[in-house]
Symmetry: C2
Subunit: 341 residues, 2 copies
């Protein structure tokens, strides 16, 4: 059985190009004792994957040249020598960009409960890394309380759209999105129910933020970093919390990055800026998933998947996250037949 894989060919400078990765093929792995073979159905395309391609210190080691691109995914167990997995189980975890992944003791997968009544795309979006990131970022790191004025950047994106909807559901007094372009902004308000959405491509973002949040921003959920973060820093309310979830504007930056000039407001407003990595919350994922699944089933949580077909298009799908071409959660369908069997 062949296992097609996408491996790192050379380190990108800026955007991923056709020479950043290459497609290789090798035999599917042998299943050892305690292991299981997973046929990959879908890949979760997340901005953080781009950071792992750089030879720079991060929260995980860089992907090595020649190594399969690291990333989350879902699939079906096709062979198991582990008591943890049964043939036919739908599982989630770090599949990497390939057709077959091996579940080992070092690389454990979560098994999807039966009868959830949600399709795989929804599950990978809302119950996947994206949804739980929004949940813990907002509620735990950001310590959101009812009445907060909440601003979310990347508001049309997978994490941002969920974060804003949780904020609404939890009693935020106002939820303001920031997104790029009028179509995304319309989506943020009409589809996801934010109170307002500011287009960062238009001029005077700072002034529009102040107009939208005259009493200041209590909680800013930042998915983008850079200039937008710097602008929001000028509009913080007293004791504001800035949750650093990601800095997508900086991941493709070549040379100098945007330097934050307005952090002195953290002093004058007694505010806090804090980063987090969702892996630290893995023992609490079920708590988030229970609430998120209930919200989806009740219709309180709207979501959208942008599905790109074909393993070989995963690098292109990753670029979509940065060019703004995507809507909602970007997924790559590796093999549609997997889930029909």
């Amino acid at each position: 059985m062949d296992n097609r894989q996408i491996v790192l060919n050379e380190r990108p400078e800026g955007k991923v190009t056709s020479s950043t990765t290459r497609l290789v093929s090798e035999p599917a792995p042998e299943v050892g004792d305690g292991e299981a073979l997973i046929r990959v159905a879908m890949l979760s395309i997340d901005p953080t994957i781009r950071t792992w391609m750089d030879d720079a210190p991060g929260y995980l080691p860089p992907i090595q040249l020649g190594e399969v691109i690291r990333g989350g995914g879902a699939g079906v167990v096709v062979e198991s020598k582990s008591s943890r997995y049964r043939e036919g189980d739908i599982v989630f975890g770090m599949t990497g960009w390939q057709e077959f992944a091996l579940a080992t003791n070092d690389n454990r997968f979560a098994v999807l409960p039966k009868g959830l009544g949600l399709d795989l795309g929804t599950v990978m979006n809302v119950l996947g890394v994206t949804g739980v990131t929004a949940y813990f970022g907002l509620l735990d790191v950001g310590a959101m309380t009812p009445g907060d004025v909440v601003v979310v950047s990347g508001a049309a994106g997978a994490t941002g759209s969920v974060a804003g909807q949780i904020a609404k559901a939890r009693g935020a007094s106002k939820v303001v999105g920031i997104a790029g372009g009028p179509e995304k902004c319309a989506d943020v308000v009409e589809r996801y129910g934010f109170d307002e959405c500011l287009d960062y491509r238009e001029a005077h973002l700072r002034r529009r933020l102040r107009a939208a949040c005259p009493s200041g921003v209590d909680l800013y959920f930042d998915n983008v970093g850079g200039e937008i973060l710097d602008d929001v820093l000028t509009t913080l309310a007293m004791r504001a919390r800035v949750v650093l979830c990601g800095a997508i504007s900086q991941y493709n930056a070549v040379g100098s990055r945007h330097g934050l000039e307005n952090t002195s407001t953290l002093i004058t407003r007694r505010a806090r800026m804090e980063g987090f990595i969702i892996l630290d919350y893995s023992s609490r994922f079920d708590e988030a998933r229970a609430e998120l699944a209930a919200m989806v089933l009740s219709g309180a949580l709207r979501h959208q998947e942008h599905i790109v077909k074909g393993l070989e298009r995963a690098p292109e799908a990753l670029n979509h996250l940065f060019s703004g071409e995507n809507r909602g959660k970007t997924l790559v369908e590796v093999d549609e037949s997997v889930l029909l069997g």
Copy 2:
């Protein structure tokens, strides 16, 4: 009775100059019911005073042109129509840069307990704003715990030197100072007992920080902002806390300020950067003062005062904070006879 005052003459660009302030004289204020007149003995010269001279939003309104320069000080009650103060009491509060200040309901002063056995300079330094800032910044905002690797900038300064000594006393595994020049660095180690002090004027601060803190910095007490803060951000340990106490490097900056480029480590290290304003802790000052006074009396807390004589030299004393000419706490002696009478 004349009351000599220093008022804001024009807003400074960069450093305070001879035309920034002017000396005026007016009759000492009449004492109304519930008020008391204070003869000012000493002024506390703090970097934050420089920020109040700018016409920019801050945690307090800017000083207006023609208004007495705002600032803390101590003096003796010479007339009282208030049950709160008795003639002869030594009191602390916002005296402003003048010879006589009025204690009113809006401008309350703390009365120094009798028989403390500490001279006024020591009290204004260690038990004044400086000492309590170090205390709450380190222990409350920074949530210092025994075993932390603590780095303090402005380590030869009034707040920094106290912060480092509290950290040692509370069981930090290592306390590293950052200061400007070999003499200050020697002071930080020999006088204040830090484990090490790095001279930021020498090259490769980042590399020297990594060498001094190979397991990373758990708590950074930042008094300076700017490039030094940016360098320390690259060396944070997991779950590090960065306490923003002040940004003295930026207060005189004309035009563009240093933009922080390394805040992405807040994400990868799950770290937190938080600002505070000491006024918020005023209801808890006694708690800090009790511990600080005990440390001074037992010899566990070393301190130093840099006393400049003459009200008219207060602007010059303020500049000392930024040029690095001062050592320890900068105080202006307005009238030495006050405390002898």
